[in-house]
């Protein structure tokens, strides 16, 4: 690719300083994939421990650490960043923008996430990872000896700050940066779900911030929030955590819904059925997501009135979710369905997620929840929605957008092996766990006693986990061996939305001329009613781009240093870290950055290269 930046830089420097949403997207994606592999390995270790009763493969303490890190890593460091990768890469393209609203903050968000993830995982090497589960209920977490839980607190605080920034960035990008003609009701569903997801992030994460703050104050600065002997109240943590935590599960599923809507409509060659109902359902789910947090607390003793209200409110969410399922089915109806790997994942999602959804309604039944709660039934339920929903969405998106992101197509043949193995392994692992729960197996147990009729199903479950692990290896191989498939990558799937109107790999300015959007599925409309290319909404001209910057890394680094200061309670380190951060922020606001221009000549020169 021709170098359009003012000065030549090394590749590494380029990536460290980039503010390009596409590169940031790719970094999110790769970091997310790495953490996914780590957390997957942790899961396999746990499943080996649970393969037979009373195994001593792992000690109890190690099991609890793996459990905590698996859950925390999967949710905060794998699933969310993987979605952020797609959002960053795809959303500006889908709305016909040259960039996001705040490129600098975007890159800061990424580095904060990455440093937060690193902080969390450093705990493995400094005497023990956090061990109070991903929910870190007090007082187990506030009394947990060692520094593990401190790492949890600070790691999540740092990466959470990054997440919040990214959320605001997406919101403003989507509201302000749409191409001419791209009204809100013409936005692709993935962009819509990014919008609603970002809203959820914005209003949910601060509750976690406060929860973590209180936990930090209690653990390190002698606070009494959760110390019953000092008048503290341990249920406050649960409320704060779940006011964040329930929206969080929708943060994890809505982007997947968006991806499925794109993939299903593309591979059925049909407009999304009931587009406005889909948008509306997404909004309602987002809204109701804030009304139901206490369904995680039915057994805490909130009383029958609260339990009944939260039970009914939770059931209500099933309605918009059902609407979505039927709309997808009707999108397929009458279509011409192609079974590409991306679509296979989208299609497998429907039954898998329906199964996770119905167990969700069962769990919402408060009186029955007393039996389900904190048993393997719950483990089965949330893996059905998280893997059958979020992870299938991530894999569908991976196969769908890979050519656009990396400039080559993944092998369909290897992809199908991967798909089937993963699908079978997934159901094998988690289907039986529903029964384990009802047969008396609590959740978060480091082992189980022999002679309780739990052995067979646990063994089956572990076998399934091995299938999934093997499948993941096939995906990695696929990524490595498919690099030669570089032909037909601009629009390999006969796409409908704007990202397929760009070249692969995408030019750094995305569109030489901002496109004019004339209908939903803008590109498909031009394919049907125009010449198959987007009309331009502006004359060709110089394009102004922001400069890269190394400052985000330093801001994130400063905060990480301060975090270690907190963990080991050292004021000089805390202050030193904060000084680095604030000084860098000062630099940022004092140094005027005017960006640079890409001259027309260069744009037309490059433009000539594409077909």
């Amino acid at each position: 690719m021709a170098n359009s930046s003012p000065a030549k830089k090394s590749v590494l420097w380029d990536w460290l300083t980039t503010v390009d949403h596409k590169k940031i997207g790719i970094m999110y994606f790769l970091a997310g994939l790495f953490f996914f592999a780590v957390a997957g390995l942790e899961a396999i270790l746990m499943r080996i421990q649970l393969m037979f009763p009373e195994m001593s493969f792992l000690g109890e303490q190690t099991y609890n650490e793996l459990l905590t890190m698996h859950g925390t890593t999967m949710l905060f460091l794998a699933a969310m960043p993987l979605f952020f990768g797609f959002m960053n890469f795809v959303v500006p393209l889908q709305i016909g923008a040259r960039d996001v609203a705040f490129p600098f903050i975007n890159s800061l968000g990424f580095w904060l996430f990455l440093f937060g993830g690193i902080i969390l995982n450093v705990s493995w090497f400094t005497g023990g990872a956090p061990d109070a589960a991903w929910t870190s209920y007090v007082p187990l977490s506030s009394d947990s000896p060692g520094h593990g839980v401190d790492y949890y607190v600070m790691g999540l605080q740092v990466s959470g700050a990054g997440t919040l920034m990214s959320g605001i960035n997406f919101l403003v990008t989507i509201v302000n940066m749409r191409a001419p003609g791209m009204s809100m009701m013409r936005m692709p569903l993935f962009t819509w779900s990014t919008f609603v997801t970002s809203m959820l992030i914005l209003f949910a994460f601060p509750a976690l911030t406060v929860g973590l703050l209180l936990l930090m104050l209690d653990r390190i600065f002698g606070g009494a929030f959760f110390d019953v002997a000092m008048g503290g109240n341990v249920v406050i943590w649960q409320h704060l955590f779940w006011i964040f935590g329930h929206p969080e599960v929708y943060i994890l599923i809505l982007p997947a819904f968006g991806i499925f809507s794109e993939v299903i409509s593309t591979f059925a060659k049909k407009r999304l059925f009931g587009y406005s109902a889909m948008v509306f359902a997404t909004l309602i789910i987002g809204f109701l997501g804030f009304m139901v947090w206490a369904h995680h607390m039915f057994t805490v003793g909130m009383g029958p009135v609260a339990n009944a209200i939260f039970a009914v409110a939770t059931m209500a969410i099933a309605v918009p979710t059902g609407i979505k399922i039927f709309n997808w089915l009707l999108t397929l109806w009458g279509g011409r369905i192609r079974f590409t790997v991306a679509n296979l994942f989208a299609l497998a999602f429907i039954p898998s997620f329906v199964m996770g959804g119905v167990t969700g309604v069962m769990l919402a039944t408060s009186a029955a929840n007393y039996q389900f709660h904190d048993t393997y039934f719950v483990v089965a339920h949330f893996h059905y929605v998280i893997i059958g929903g979020s992870v299938f969405g991530i894999f569908a998106g991976t196969f769908y957008w890979w050519p656009k992101m990396f400039g080559y197509r993944l092998s369909e043949a290897w992809g199908k092996w991967f798909f089937w193995l993963f699908l079978i392994g997934f159901h094998m692992t988690f289907f039986v766990q529903h029964f384990l729960g009802l047969m008396g197996m609590p959740r978060r147990v480091a082992s189980y006693l022999d002679g309780q009729n739990l052995n067979d199903l646990n063994f089956i479950s572990t076998m399934g986990a091995f299938f999934m692990g093997t499948a993941f290896i096939l995906l990695v191989i696929n990524v490595l061996i498919s690099r030669k498939n570089t032909e037909n990558t601009d629009d390999p799937w006969d796409g409908r939305t704007l990202e397929w109107a760009t070249t692969s790999p995408v030019q750094e300015y995305n569109f030489a001329q901002t496109p004019l959007v004339r209908d939903l599925d803008a590109l498909f409309y031009e394919k049907m009613n125009g010449d198959g290319r987007m009309k331009a909404a502006e004359p060709l001209g110089d394009i102004h781009m922001p400069n890269g910057s190394i400052l985000p890394i330093f801001i994130a680094l400063g905060l990480s240093i301060a975090s270690f200061g907190v963990i080991y309670y050292s004021w000089p380190v805390i202050i030193g870290g904060l000084v680095v951060t604030f000084f860098t922020m000062m630099l940022r606001s004092v140094i005027e950055d005017h960006g640079y221009n890409i001259p027309v000549s260069e744009i037309t020169g490059e433009k000539g290269e594409d077909k």
């Binding site: 249920v235 407009r271 059902g322 009707l330 079974f339 069962m362 039944t365 029964f435 047969m439 008396g440």
Partner: protein, 353 residues
Amino acid sequence: MKHMLKLLPFSLILLLAGCGMENLSALDPRGPVAEMQLSLIQLSLYIMIFVIVIVFSIYAFVLIRFRERPGDTHIPKQVHGNRTLEFIWTTIPILLLLLLAIPNVMDTFTLADTGIPDEGVDEELLDEDDEVQDYVVIEAHAHQFWWEFVYPDLGVNAGQDMYIPTDTRVIVELEASDVIHSFWVPALAGKQDNVPGITNDLWFEAPEEGIYMGKCTEICGPSHWLMDFKVVAVDPDTFDSWAETMAEPPEDQLEPEGEVAVEGRDIFVENCIACHAIGDEGGNTGPNFTNYSERTVVAGFLEYSDDNLHDWIRDPDSLKPGNEMPGFGEEAISDDEMDALIEYINTLSVLDE
């Protein structure tokens, strides 16, 4: 026929492994509360199976009928939507959910109402003759990683085994002394949490005698998985005599017969009684020992045997990591002393049989 239908959804699991272990499984309820909960689970399951069948049929039809055939290049009609359909698939789920929500709300209130008399006697506690039915109140104090059962009206403190009379309403008041735990006896009743600083309650009944398995379901530390307990349902007369003896242990426990047991008693007083009480003599840092030999397991999970008792006393932490009991090595209790101690422990019983 009706019975068959009830079993249908669980047929798969019946094939696989029965319904789980007797007196442990929520699928095989042994009391009215667990039965109520299972029937609610079944109701929700039927409704959900109905939904699943519909979705899966449409799904299968669509995938078969509309898959791309070789050579097919037509562009499908770009349908926008359909108001009627949308109306249908909004209202029907709402109706289905109401079908589930209403009984659920009713059950939720029923389960929350223990009917403790000082809150006004609940009608359900009255039998046919309008007499207040018998009930027993038990405080369940959860500790890392064991259970203490206090019978405030009977002056009894029992460790690990919760004795209850059959056919009597049992009202459990849940408390925690360190972190959050959760009290679950799947075959009798769903769980409620033991939360520090808060007292929760629940009730259940056991019509049949038997030993029911209980578990802690809230992660509470390394040995969370070993925090089991037992609910022992005995007939009301036996219960009464059990409670009486527990409150006032027989002389021979304080002054046992037999030389070895006397020595064991001394060792117990020297090393153990500060944490493990007998009757009301001693501390409660560990489980009460008054009826120890009637336990079926040591420490909540090890089969009851002299060897296991020995191993446990020597090094509890290796068996149940993170628990509060110190180990007693040979310098503290010699092998001979240990035998005496175990012999004494084996005499601790309150039931006649």
